[in-house]
């Protein structure tokens, strides 16, 4: 009886061990450091080349798009007086605009420019909108023009037709 129990203990431990090994291996393989912009700037160690995830707010008026390649975007993100230059290739999310809080994932180049391969904007949402709205008189809509990009992404940009 005892022996049998030992046998199953060993078997189970093997499985648990294998899973544990997979987890630790994968953590060291795939982890990314998470900083806000100011935290990144105040680090003593250089994180050049390491996988990074950086949070910050888009600096007003800093979004530049290549006129020939619309999918090539450059912008600045800031947090508490520190700012970081970011380049990104691809479609930007619906909510990407001046002043928005974004999270970029990628690597920091030697030139100090952050090459992002993913660009996330924080929650679309009602939840966040509630905070904004809390500051103003109830019933007033948040000012849409403050966030919308002029000319771009606006329904009025096109002549209206009906089908």
């Amino acid at each position: 009886m005892k022996q049998k129990n030992i046998k199953f203990m060993v078997g189970s431990l093997l499985i648990v061990g294998a899973i544990g090994y997979l987890i630790t291996m994968s953590i060291s393989n795939t982890s990314q450091y998470f900083f806000t912009v100011d935290e990144l700037m105040s680090q003593n160690v250089s994180y050049t080349g390491a996988g990074l995830k950086i949070k910050g707010n888009v600096v007003n008026g800093s979004i530049e798009r290549d006129p020939n390649d619309y999918l090539d975007v450059k912008f600045l993100i800031e947090e508490k007086d520190a700012s970081l230059k970011v380049t990104y290739q691809g479609v930007t999310p619906d909510m990407f605009a001046d002043g928005r809080e974004v999270v970029v994932e990628g690597t920091l180049g030697k030139d100090g420019v952050f090459k992002a391969n993913t660009l996330l904007t924080s929650c679309p949402s009602k939840y966040e909108a509630e905070k904004e709205a809390g500051k103003m008189h109830p019933g007033k809509f948040p000012d849409a023009d403050k966030y919308g990009e002029p000319g771009l992404n606006k329904a009025e940009a096109l002549p209206k037709t009906t089908i």
């Binding site: 009886m1 049998k4 129990n5 199953f8 078997g11 189970s12 499985i15 648990v16 899973i19 997979l22 987890i23 291996m25 994968s26 953590i27 393989n29 795939t30 982890s31 990314q32 450091y33 998470f34 949070k55 390649d69 619309y70 999918l71 691809g90 479609v91 930007t92 619906d94 909510m95 999270v103 994932e105 996330l120 924080s122 679309p124 949402s125 009602k126 939840y127 966040e128 909108a129 509630e130 709205a133 109830p138 019933g139 007033k140 809509f141 948040p142 849409a144 966030y147 919308g148 000319g151 771009l152 992404n153 606006k154 329904a155 940009a157 096109l158 002549p159 209206k160 009906t162 089908i163």
Partner: protein, 671 residues
Amino acid sequence: MNDIGEFTLLLALATAVYGCVAYIMSARGNRIDLYLSADKTPFIVWACVMTSSICLWRAFLTDDFSLQYVWAYSNIELDTFYKVSSFWGGQKGSLLFWTLLLSTYMLVVYFQNRKKNLRVVPYAMAIMLVIVVFFLVLINFSTNPFERIPLPPEDGRGLNPLLQNYWMVIHPPTLYLGYVGFTVPFAFAVAALISKDLDDGWIRMTRKWTLISWFFLCMGNLFGASWAYVELGWGGYWAWDPVENAAFMPLLIATAYLHSVMIQEKKDMMKVWNMSLILLTFSMTIFGTFITRSGLIQSVHTFDEATLGYFFLGFLFVIITSCAALIISRLPLLKSANELDSFLSRESSFLFNNLLLLGIAFATFWGTIFPIISEAVRGVKITVGPPFYNQVNVPIGLALLALVGIGPVIAWRRATLSNLKKNFLKPLLAAMVGAMAMFPVIPLGSRAEIYTYATFVISIFVLSCILAEFYKGTVARMGLHEESVAGALSTMAWRNKRRYGGYIVHIGVVMIFAGIAGSQAYGTHTEKHLKLGESFEIRGYTIRYEKLVAIEATNIKTRIIAQLAVERDGKRYWTGHPEKEFYKGQNQPVSEVDVLSTWKEDLYMILADFREDESATIKVYVNPMVSWMWTGGWIIAFGAMVSMWPDRLEQRRRLDRIRKQEQLFLSPAQE
């Protein structure tokens, strides 16, 4: 009306507190008078919560913007359909909705088990009432949905357009039905521990509840994935976001529990294990709520009130410590009657299935909380993303998939060689034939592609195992009765609903595995900025950008629609209309994707951007086999229905049992 709503919430809280005290005192002191009084509370609590909910619904439907919550999540022009669903659109309402479901479940349990087992049921009711009290305290004192605005505004702020989607209407209630449902088996488990009535009575009493909750949790996850796929427009259905993980972990542990209770029923083993699993499942539902309400973990969707999370954390702490203490104090009573005999047996295959499911759950848990841990230990926040989850969970998932085939077929206690040969030789051969047939056609360049190939091969093995079971059963029945193939098959399945329902669920699971594997490994995407008339190619499709139109759909919604012709071999094949919608009062547009879905692959189109000169950025994904997942989901739903369907044979057995119990407990109490 709003005052009534507020008042009934307080009344519900007072009644629930009284009820739970009275139930416990009546059970401890054997006081039938107190019991009779306590036994009225579940109905009163339910009626109060229901009244309060009706008041909130009324406020939504009559556009009563004097309530802050209604103002924040509705406006005059919102569809009635969405006005009803706005009820659970935000934090306050979702907690009330949770309480409503919980008290409804409690009422059903009350009617089901009234006067049935007077030793366990009072404690179970008390436990459920404690949980109701927790939620009612939150609602009454922290996030009251009936909070007023002194000067009612004329119109509300409106529901987030992303949530105006039919999946989003059914996804949260489905998930909640699952989450809340596990309260019932949990309450009965704790009640069994307290009353020391530790045979499998509590498992039998709550078996249906477990199944139903599991079913809703599973569907809730799938609905959420569907919503993400059609509404969020990033081409995927699962991102390992903490909030998704929060819904996924209880599902995994519940699946483990669902399987291991079968071993306890059949073999009277794994008692401590089952107790721990149901405790863990329930804790995970609370932990999931904690994650979504705390803002502690960076996620793309979080509720804003950070303080509420700590209530849940405190509650979680109390539950885990008290239940763990309770289990430890009852350890001597939880001895198993049998022991594991051999690795090659159904018992151990269930044990391994449990370990693997818990392994996936733990890896997911670890990845979710890793940022917090690393910050505490090393002072640096380290996050892990989808690559981590895929690296860990895919190999474990493959082993699990193989067990889906082995577990239900392998012999009990100890499988002999001839046994194994009889059960597994043919499925193994089928898998090998499949492997060789697929080898030349399937690319095997990367690790993902190799994993996918392995998934397909194992899927064939599992499917052959399951189909062989159906085949064997049908042939056996046809030998005994004069029946057609279809007749024999359906009667056989109907006579053994639990078993064959389970097999059907497994078929659905295999399809979901195959769908995930196919879409993860062979997908591709392109994004292009196009002028009118320009085109590009992807996977043999030619996508031509034809025109862009703007439509004012309603006074609050403007739609910008791109027309894309899809050509294949020079012929027009389909026309896609991805669009962007602009809502009055919302800051950001919403992308509406267009998907051409076939068995082979989905062609998934997004209008990413457009400019005044009518040029537009189009993103196109080719996602193979995604529809397999949704089909697999419906098969799971069907299989779960079959196994949940009331069984007359089982009812008779249950009645017998109850009669015996009544003789044991009820008659002395009445004397």
